[in-house]
């Protein structure tokens, strides 16, 4: 039997660590670190499958930990913090976090997000065809089907959808989307996104599919994973 995946929790709040342990224990092996320095050491020593990171650490800022980590590791990171300002979330995501969850959090939501980021962990071969609920996207053939019916998308719409599909379930920041689709000079033009996503949603979302693309105001967009 394959051993349970390992999750590293980096958080200075003992109570939070204990609660997280309790929530994760049945499915994961959990290890803990109470500050950034120890966290980085643990990450090297234990090679966890996922990391849950708090931003307000006593010795160093969480974003700094993230940057150090990303220098050598692609381990999926879920940021868990009480900071709810959009700028903080965007900073974490742009520096390599895979997702962001604000405290307080629901256990179910946490587990779902953890599953998503692990699924998308690098290593798995890039599949040309992605099926997300009723949505079927063939990245190689530029073909999109909803409920089996083909939908025609413009080149830009498809490019946006491709980025979201490649990160299914995870939030993709405005900056990332703009840079990938329009190039580095368009990073500030977030009004493009609103317009294109309005069109995209009109084309893809039906009553049967429900909401597919979620807007995270001030942060980015997320293609909801079908659970």
């Amino acid at each position: 039997m394959k051993p349970n995946p390992t999750v590293l929790i980096i958080d200075d709040e003992r109570a939070i660590r204990r609660l997280l342990c309790a929530a994760l224990e049945p499915q994961y092996q959990v290890c803990e670190a109470e500050n950034g320095q120890l966290g980085l050491q643990e990450a090297v020593a234990r090679r966890p499958d996922a990391i849950i990171l708090d931003l307000g650490l006593p010795d160093m800022d969480g974003v700094a930990v993230l940057k150090r980590l990303r220098e050598w590791s692609q381990t999926p990171v879920l940021v868990l913090s009480v900071r709810d300002r959009e700028a903080d979330k965007v900073a974490a995501l742009d520096n390599g976090a895979d997702d962001y969850l604000t405290k307080p959090f629901g256990t179910a939501e946490l587990l779902a997000r953890l599953r998503v980021i692990q699924r998308r962990a690098p290593g798995g071969a890039e599949e040309p065809v992605h099926v997300i609920g009723l949505l079927q996207v063939d990245l190689a053939a530029h073909q999109v089907k909803v409920h089996g019916r083909e939908v025609s998308l413009t080149a830009t719409e498809f490019a946006l959808l491709r980025v979201l599909v490649q990160h299914t379930g995870k939030v993709v920041t405005h900056k990332h989307l703009l840079r990938t689709v329009w190039g580095p000079n368009a990073e500030e033009q977030s009004q493009y996104l609103r317009v294109y996503f309005t069109h995209l949603r009109k084309k893809l979302e039906t009553e049967a599919t429900g909401r597919l693309i979620q807007n995270e105001p001030g942060i980015g967009y997320r293609l909801l994973a079908a659970d």
Binding site: I16, V82, T107, R194
Partner: protein, 891 residues
């Protein structure tokens, strides 16, 4: 349209700017005549009465009727500003009260006799300067002027009438006139009027008729007045043509230059050049060549006067240096593309000119190439002070210096008397030579020449055999004597010249050093007080005086207390002069045209961006202020202004850094407070949820109820904390807007999703008209504001009752409404609901009363407003009105 004849945009722009400037300025109309008695004042008053009949508020600043009955009759019904009485040498004289006029600001005022000279002690020495100030203040002025008072006609009038006019008006003043009306009368008519006693009363009429009012004088004056008016009309026509781009920029393509020096003959040259330049419609410059020869005080004064005359008459003044005046003049002329040069006829002796390589004019003609040279004769009647200018030039030190020279020669002679016993009489000549050279270092030129001559005679008489006679026995001695005499004179002369040049150089160096020191000391100072202290100390040392610095206060007005760095304290009158200089951004006080009776001269301290203050320098002890001293003072003023501005900028930079620092501190504080408050809440919530999710079945019913209560209370606490933090952000003004383009429908959707836990989405009815364009606002703030309104609506209405969200665009204002069908507002609550911690009279328990004040804070951050009112059909409506940018542009 050909390329050449197309209007030049710069010229058009200049014309427009000139017109704009003139629109703010008052209009000047001059009633112009050939001489007194032609009826200028009468014509002016008639015109004024007509304007008054048109409803214009005409006020008389000053009108001289000279007791003429017809004129006095016209005064009836016109308002007169009483004259200001001022005492001068025991006589009380009335001058125009310019302050009263400025305070009253009539649309039109009458000021008779533009050329009048004010009583000493008035604000301006001349009445035309008062008129300029009135025009600057936007007051229209009617005035009168005779042709003989025109600066450029001054010489001509003196030539044929023999009368020197004391009061003159610069031509530039007349150039500013928007309208010139010629009041004309034939000489016969005028003489008839004079005989009838309509011009002068009693005996004066008879003397006037014999002197000034001779027929030939009047004819000449009339011709001059007519011609001048014609020239002005011509000029106007040319201006119009230039604006329409008819013809070239200067129709004549000529540029004139006049050589100006300290000579009294320069003034007629300047006036002549102005006349020719105007007639040719050519620009003209006045060139002064500074040589190494030092100028006497009188010459300096005259030079300053000549240059300011040139400036007043509209010339550009160019200064250059060089000992070869002709070469320097030509160089400057070529630089300014001059086509014609005007100089005076040589007055020096022919021998001296030969030594110099020809007179100035002949050298100009030889070296001038294609530049035309006009040589004008110096008028014999020109106001020259003396046939022997060098007598004055040397000043009263001459006789003292000569006495010193003679005494010195006598002393050396006595010493040589003893010396010759051992050395023989030839060596004596060398001792004399040494004495003469030493003398030339300290005494003036004439004294050293005298010493050379005296010593030669003394040597001959007392030492060369046969002694005690002026006879010389041998050819040998005669040659010795002749050589000595020439060498002594030349040495004396050369030494003296070297010495004076050195002195001038020394003075120049002193100034450069002073400026340098000023720059260094002010650059090194970190405090403004220190820097200003250094600057004032340098200024005081250089001019041996005391000075004052007045700075502009935060309100932009000049402060009335001197800066502590000042070395003198201004009294109220001095502050008045300083304020004038500050307000008008002009130099005022002593040696200027404004309040020249003041003890000090005041320079405005200003940079291109702002008025910073005034620098006043006490000039009580001085008789003159030369041009370069004035320039040096202006440089000082500019440096001090730069110093003040640098410190102001530094101050504001420090302020900005402090603000940023406090911002950072505040954010850290808010972050840690929010962290400390939210973390335990998060733990409680997570723990409670975990318990509910996993251990619910193991708990008794009561336990489950307790858990549910914990969760609810925790939820409430979380919302309260979040509201409090938002409120803090609003209250401290730290609410950076992050506007972005979005659709209003999007906003409504997001807001209702945000409150899906508190308000069931089925209850929310959204209607957004399709024609509403995209708008630019801070999306998140607006989303939160709407969410708060929705939560509030849900709390005030029955579960399941609909809540309507609507949008509409109303002339650039976005109107968002959230309407419920709940209990509505109690009377008088419409404003109170937005107050902090206000809890509605009808509201259920719970809530901090912050939700609506947050809405208000967010809306106000967008410069919008939020209103609450009851619906006619029940329930309340909250209306948000926001000024927005809209965009229909598709992407």
């Amino acid at each position: 349209m050909s390329e050449e004849s197309r209007p030049n945009p710069d010229a058009l722009l200049a014309e427009i700017q000139r017109e704009e400037k003139e629109a703010k300025r008052g209009r000047l109309k001059i009633f112009f005549g050939m001489c007194p008695g032609v009826g200028k004042t009468y014509a002016m008053l008639e015109a004024a009465r007509q304007r008054k009949a048109e409803g214009v508020d005409v006020v008389i600043g000053v009108v001289e009727t000279h007791g003429r009955v017809e004129t006095e009759a016209l005064l009836a019904g016109l308002k007169v500003v009483p004259r200001k009485a001022s005492e001068y040498r025991g006589i009380t004289l009335g001058e125009m009260d310019i302050d009263a006029l400025l305070a009253r600001r009539p649309p039109l005022t009458l000021v008779d006799e533009l050329a009048h000279t004010n009583v000493p002690g008035s604000r301006h020495p001349k009445r035309y300067q008062d008129v300029l100030e009135l025009l600057d203040a936007g007051i229209d002025v009617y005035t009168t002027l005779n042709v003989q008072h025109l600066e450029s006609r001054f010489d001509v009038v003196r030539q044929f009438t023999g009368i020197t006019v004391q009061e003159t008006v610069p031509d530039s003043m007349v150039d500013q006139a928007d309208e010139i009306e010629l009041v004309d009368l034939t000489p016969e008519q005028l003489r008839k009027r004079l005989a009838e006693g309509k011009v002068y009363i009693g005996e004066r009429a008879a003397t006037a008729a014999e002197n000034f009012f001779r027929e030939e004088n009047l004819t000449a004056l009339r011709e001059m007045a007519l011609r001048y008016t014609a020239e002005c009309v011509d000029q106007e026509l040319r201006d119009v043509m230039r604006a329409r781009r008819i013809g070239g920029r200067w129709t004549s393509a000529q540029r004139l230059a006049v050589g100006v020096g300290p000579s009294p003959y320069s003034a007629p040259l300047i006036r002549w050049t102005r006349r020719i330049a105007v007639a040719m419609d050519a620009p003209w410059v006045a060139i002064y060549v500074e040589t190494s020869r030092p100028l006497s005080e009188e010459e300096k004064t005259r030079l300053t006067k000549n240059l300011s005359l040139a400036r007043q008459l509209g010339a550009e003044v160019v200064m250059t240096t060089g000992d070869d005046v002709a070469a320097a003049l030509l160089e400057a002329a070529r630089e300014h593309h001059i086509t014609q040069i005007v100089v005076g006829k040589p007055l020096g002796s022919p021998l001296r000119e030969l030594l110099k390589g020809g007179s100035l004019s002949s050298r100009l003609i030889r070296g001038g190439g294609n530049i035309d040279v006009h040589v004008l004769s110096g008028e014999k009647t020109a106001p020259t002070s003396s046939r022997w200018p060098w007598v004055q030039w040397l000043g009263q030190n001459l006789w003292r210096d000569c006495a010193w020279g003679a005494g010195w020669v006598a002393a050396v002679t006595a010493a040589c008397w003893f010396l010759q016993r051992w050395t023989g009489y030839w060596t004596v000549s060398l001792v004399y030579l040494l004495a003469v050279v030493l003398l030339a270092l300290v005494l003036n030129r004439w004294a050293s020449l005298l010493a050379a001559a005296l010593s030669a005679l003394a040597w001959n008489y007392l030492f060369i055999p046969p002694v005690f006679t002026f006879r010389i026995a041998t050819v040998h001695d005669a040659m010795m004597f002749a050589t000595y005499f020439i060498v002594a004179v030349l040495m004396g002369h050369i030494t003296h010249r070297l010495h004076t040049r050195e002195l001038a150089e020394h003075k120049r160096r002193q100034r450069t050093v002073a400026l340098n020191r000023l720059l260094e000391s002010t650059a090194a100072s970190t405090l403004l007080e220190e820097g200003l202290g250094h600057a004032v100390a340098e200024l005081d040392a250089l001019f041996q005086t005391r000075s004052v610095i007045l700075l502009a206060g935060p309100d932009g007005k000049l402060e009335t207390t001197a800066h502590p760095a000042s070395t003198s304290q201004p009294n109220e009158k001095q502050i008045g002069v300083a304020s004038w200089a500050f307000d008008r951004e002009q130099i005022a006080g002593r040696f200027t045209d404004t309040l020249p009776d003041a003890q000090s001269i005041y320079f405005p301290l200003q940079t291109s961006k702002s008025k910073l203050g005034v620098m006043g320098v006490n000039m009580e002890q001085r008789k003159t202020l030369t041009l370069d001293e004035r320039e040096l003072l202006e440089t000082f003023a500019a440096q001090i202004a730069a110093l003040i501005e640098r410190h102001r900028l530094m101050e504001s930079a420090t302020q900005a850094r402090l603000t940023e620092e406090s911002e950072r501190l505040y954010r850290t504080l808010l972050d840690s407070v929010s962290h400390e408050l939210k973390t335990p809440l998060a733990i409680i919530e997570t723990a409670t949820e975990g318990m509910i999710g996993q251990c619910q079945d193991a708990l008794p019913a009561q336990g489950r109820m307790f858990l549910e209560e914990i969760r609810r209370a925790n939820n409430r606490l979380r919302i309260t904390v979040s509201n409090l933090l938002d409120m803090t952000r609003i209250e401290t003004g730290r609410l950076p807007l992050n506007p972005e383009w979005f659709d209003v429908a999007d906003l409504f959707q997001s807001a209702s999703e945000r409150v899906k836990n508190e308000v069931a989405s089925e209850r929310i009815e959204i209607s957004v008209p399709a024609e509403i364009p995209r708008v630019r606002l801070d999306f998140l703030m607006m989303e939160q504001a709407l969410a708060n309104l929705l939560t509030n609506a849900a709390a005030c209405s029955a579960a399941g009752s609909p809540i309507r969200m609507t949008a509409q665009l109303d002339d650039g204002t976005l109107v968002l409404r959230v309407a419920d069908q709940g209990i509505g507002l109690a009377p008088g609550e419409e404003k109170k609901v937005f107050q902090k911690f206000y809890r509605g009279a009808k509201s259920k328990s719970g809530g901090t009363g912050l939700g609506l004040s947050i809405v208000q804070g967010f809306v106000r951050a967008h410069r919008g407003e939020v209103l609450a009112e009851n619906n006619p059909t029940g329930g309340a409506t909250f209306t948000i009105r926001l000024p927005v940018e809209t965009s229909k542009q598709p992407l």
